[in-house]
Amino acid sequence: MQRRSFLRGLGLVAAASTVVAPNMVMAAEAPKGPNAFTIDAALKAITGGKAVVASPKVHLKAPEIAENGAVVPVTVEVDSPMTDDDYVKAIHIFATKNSNVRCADVMLTPANGAAMFATRIKLGTSQDVMALVETSKGEFLSASQNVKVTIGGCG
C-alpha cells in the first residue's frame, strides 16, 4: 500500500513537471514582443471598423518564393494623382503571420509626387504580405500576396 501511494505521488510529480516545463521553455525561447498584434486587431486599430476593399489600384510587389526570410523586398505602388484634394494619406505594410504583424506605417503628403514605398522586411514563415492604403477621401484599399519562405528570418 505504501509503495503504491509512493508511486502515485511520483507519477503526479512527473506529470506536473512535464506540464510546466515545456511552457517555461517556450517562454524563454519565444517571448511575446510588446507589440504583439493579430492582423484583425491591427486592421481594426487603423480603420476603426470601416470596410477594407481589395483594389486593383494598389500594386504590391513581392517575390513569390523568398529563399531567405530575413530579407524580403516589398514594393507598394498606388495609382493616385497626389494632388492636394486627392492623395494617398498612408501606406501600411503587414506580415500576417509574424508575431508583430505591423511592419511599417508610412504617412505621405502631396509633396511626394507619387505614392510609392519600398523596403525590405523579415518573414518568419510562409505567409501573406498585405498592404493597406488610406486615401485622403477616407477609403481603405488593400492588396495582398502570398510569399513562400524557405528559411525563416525571425530568430
Binding site: 509574424n98 511592419c103 510609392m116
Partner: protein
C-alpha cells in the same frame, strides 16, 4: 550613443525642378526583434529597432514613418519626392533605445 552609418541616394542623378525622383535612404542598424538569443552567452538580445523615420525638405515635413521590428537588418526606405526647387533634404530617425540620428543631403536641380 553609437553613430550610425547612413546614406541618402537620389535617382536619377540629374533632375530638374518639378521632376519626381526616387529617394533611397539606407541605415546600418541591427533591427533586433528581442526574440533572438546570443549564441555565445545564451541570453536574449533585447529588442533594438528603428521606430520612427521622418523626412523633411527645408524643415517642412514630407513623410513620417512608424516602423516595427519586422523590417530587415540594415533597412532601406525608398519613396518618391517631387522636387520643388533647391534646398536640403533631411532625415531624422529614432530607435526604441532612445538613439536619435539625422542625415541630410542637398537638392540641386539642374535647369
Amino acid at each position: 550613443m553609437a553613430k550610425r552609418k547612413s546614406l541618402i541616394k537620389i535617382k536619377p542623378k540629374k533632375y530638374t525642378t518639378g521632376d519626381v525622383v526616387k529617394v533611397n535612404f539606407m541605415v546600418m542598424h541591427p533591427m533586433d526583434t528581442g526574440m533572438r538569443k546570443d549564441k555565445k552567452t545564451g541570453k536574449i538580445i533585447p529588442a533594438h529597432y528603428i521606430n520612427e523615420v521622418k523626412f523633411f525638405f527645408n524643415d517642412k515635413p514630407i513623410t513620417t514613418m512608424t516602423t516595427w521590428e519586422s523590417l530587415s537588418t540594415n533597412p532601406v526606405f525608398t519613396l518618391n519626392f517631387k522636387v520643388p526647387g533647391p534646398g536640403e533634404l533631411k532625415v531624422i530617425y529614432k530607435d526604441n533605445q532612445g538613439e536619435v540620428n539625422e542625415k541630410s543631403t542637398k537638392i540641386k536641380p539642374k535647369g
